[in-house]
Subunit: 208 residues, 2 copies
Amino acid sequence: MTPGSASPAPDAPARRGAYAKGVAKREEILARSLEVIARSGYRGASVKELAEAAGLSQAGLLHYFGSKEELFTAILRKRDEVDSRSFGLDPEHPVVDDVRGGYVGIVQHNAEVPGLVQLFAQLSVDAADPEHPAHRFFLERNRLLREAFGASLARRQAEGRVTDRVGPDTLARLFQAVADGLQVQWMLEPDLDMAAIVGALFDLVERD
Amino acid sequence: MTPGSASPAPDAPARRGAYAKGVAKREEILARSLEVIARSGYRGASVKELAEAAGLSQAGLLHYFGSKEELFTAILRKRDEVDSRSFGLDPEHPVVDDVRGGYVGIVQHNAEVPGLVQLFAQLSVDAADPEHPAHRFFLERNRLLREAFGASLARRQAEGRVTDRVGPDTLARLFQAVADGLQVQWMLEPDLDMAAIVGALFDLVERD
DNA sequence: GTCTATACTCGGATAGAC
DNA sequence: GTCTATCCGAGTATAGAC
């Protein structure tokens, strides 16, 4: 994922009783899918592939997610949810003290899950179509991330620790663009040290 | 395209005599394809679609380009060639005086050809596969662009007009990542002012 | 809820006539 | 060099049995 985590529309019905099992299965499917993609990579992974990984037939899986696109959108959403927890970058509970460390940490983490990076990049492109199920997801997600990060930056600008040559919103946008763009370049050149470049951007904006 | 233009492996045999017509037709196909994509957008444009635009059948077109992927790679190459000329950003003849203006200009230009931006983004992702015909193209292209831009930056650093907090190579990489990342975000949010964000990055690195 | 089987669509590739 | 025709594969989606 792009640094920072957000889970717009957590989509967890968490219904009691009758639906409980179904929900659990859904979760399991997503968890497995994440594993498979993270490890084996996303080579235009087919629904069938992921179904098998979850011990289901293709049709069985599509019972839970209406279509391929919705499945993949759900996978990305799940990923954000997971990363959000493990990195404590939940927009509601930001680790205020070390934005830089957190951001760089996620970038480094991403370099260990090439398949997810690829899935993310692919879906980002597909989601340009307003009809794509992931369209709103990306819109919302990006906005949340920028808002959270922008708020941190504004705070640090007020403290005089970050340059105020550029406003916090634009700075946040800049960081987001760098993270997204680096991923694309990194897919092409896996040797690229994404964290170093992001670090350089911090060097540019941090004072002293 | 990402700001800056480069045409690695210009692939112009420009053979005389027998091949002349074939080459011309090839060029025409590319020119038409560019028009169509730039205007009507790249909705996973099919070979057939482009063939018709060039007044050819699908099979007829594939006579010139072996496969879909090679066709699209050639289109991108052609685009760089065209932009390279009209923006005078040819790495061999850089317009040294106004790097910022040139860079921002291209970004603005891109905002007028959404289809090409989309094609570029899509192919960037596909080309992650080392087997993809565009793989080398992107590698080479990106490198050339960074080298040219990095050289400009180094010069300006020496003059004290650009911060030397970060080395020129890393700075060039940063600009490239921003341009790529912004395109993805712009596809999602066409209202985004890409030029403004790029301008902000210049503000961050330029002194005084 | 899950499977098997199938249908259908899309698009790229290829053969062969002209 | 260009077309028509065909083929073929991939992959999603759906119908219907269990």
